[in-house]
Symmetry: C2
Subunit: 271 residues, 2 copies
Amino acid sequence: MCKNHTIIFTFVIMVQKMDMADFISNGFKQFIPQLSIDCTIFGYHENQLKVLLRSWKGVDGWCLPGGYIDRSESIEEAAHRILNERTGLTNVFLQQYYTFGDLRRLMNPGNEILLKSSWLYKDARGSWLGDRTISIGYYALIEFSKAVPKPDEFSKDCAWWDIQNLPVLLFDHEQMINKAINTIRTQLKYQPVGLNLLPNKFTLPELQKLYETILDRTIDRRNFQKKILSLGVLKRLDQRRKIGAHRSPSLFTFDKVKYKRALSESKGPGF
Amino acid sequence: MCKNHTIIFTFVIMVQKMDMADFISNGFKQFIPQLSIDCTIFGYHENQLKVLLRSWKGVDGWCLPGGYIDRSESIEEAAHRILNERTGLTNVFLQQYYTFGDLRRLMNPGNEILLKSSWLYKDARGSWLGDRTISIGYYALIEFSKAVPKPDEFSKDCAWWDIQNLPVLLFDHEQMINKAINTIRTQLKYQPVGLNLLPNKFTLPELQKLYETILDRTIDRRNFQKKILSLGVLKRLDQRRKIGAHRSPSLFTFDKVKYKRALSESKGPGF
DNA sequence: CCAAAAGTGTTCTCGGTACACCCATGC
DNA sequence: GCATGGGTGTACCGAGAACACTTTTGG
């Protein structure tokens, strides 16, 4: 059920470099038209939850990194490829969370003007790219420091943004991000997915800050430690982190075997 | 988040009747190609959880009722329409649960032979229908007695099947059904979705049997009643059901206002 | 010695589970 | 009156939530 993160990333055929005109006129031969994948890529840095966004040349406003599905790859492979193209990362925690197919998704009233003045409207409209598109949403949790945001040749920029302070987003991508955040919050309650956002070694206070950031509330320190340790997925290391004029907290790492087991055993109350 | 069931079904333009040849050659003009919706429609009857399946003329094996998305309808509208076409029902509890896009989904080893000997392979292959298709899975919970399975003009049959005793399923539809069942089971733990499967009036023992059937285990009678009543979504009626040589159990109905509120407030343990 | 953060244990409450007796009905 | 199933209450247990003091460290 939740094995996405364990899948060994099969390196799929990378999209051939092609110029924009060629992509507009011939892309549909390689890709499935009218269906895209958008990845909500979360990172965590300086006590902030961040999302990786990209902007297009010639268009104001930002959007989620996305792409089309090659006719010969599965959608999961496509999602991993798209994520790899923007971050350089392989073998990350990546999960499908919802498919967005509202007719309004292209007509976000907040920024319709931005789109109308862009080449997306002028040139892509009329081609396969201008058709209505349904988008499969995936979210990824990655270690911030390992990812190097990479614009592609169509990008003006590709950068991290604070969840709390997002720029103007094109299409329905704000809604997609919100749904992704809700999904993580729910999942975090049952499964220790948050660990994917941290480096190999971390302290419990750091882990707690992450949880507090994602859930947007404070958590009692003692209860947090009791609960998180009771999951049995953490290993205490014989090292401490020096943090200035304070007591040095222990470093932990997580036991990937037990971690995978815990991910697949979500428990809950009720019947 | 879970408002699907509250949406007032907007009656969309029904698919024009067209013959199979026309559909094969021209359907892509009306519908989005390479993307379909498949509905796992659950009903409950005689203490059995049932799924509505259909079979194609000229093809052995069964599959989920599905269809394509009209270019002018949202995917949710499409799902409601497809469900309406097979059951005659509107305004039902319907939820998207996963999008299936494995390359293997068309090549289920268990029944490849069935497909190869069919017109689907001979005639549809080469047309837009023969292309690889990605499918958005929706599940519906409906009141069994209200639905009248309706084959369409391409169908050999359309009928209810016991979850415990499914026929040979084409494509990856068995996997789709299994994932739908798991989704319901998880959801049932947090939200009283099961009520959608029962008639307006029901007794607590009947409701309990439904839960036991879905979860595939027995539940203590006293604890079940305590818990289900504590949700506050049931109203006890001044009526009892006569059930032969036994004490007559009270009938209940559910308070739709409180019910909707309860659906949107899923609680849980954890942080 | 003082400020700041880490580490740790107990109590309370609530929900989940286990369990037993009496009641209504039709034969 | 008896068999069958419906209705109800109590005791135990574990997880979550509330809560305070001591220890380490650098300045």
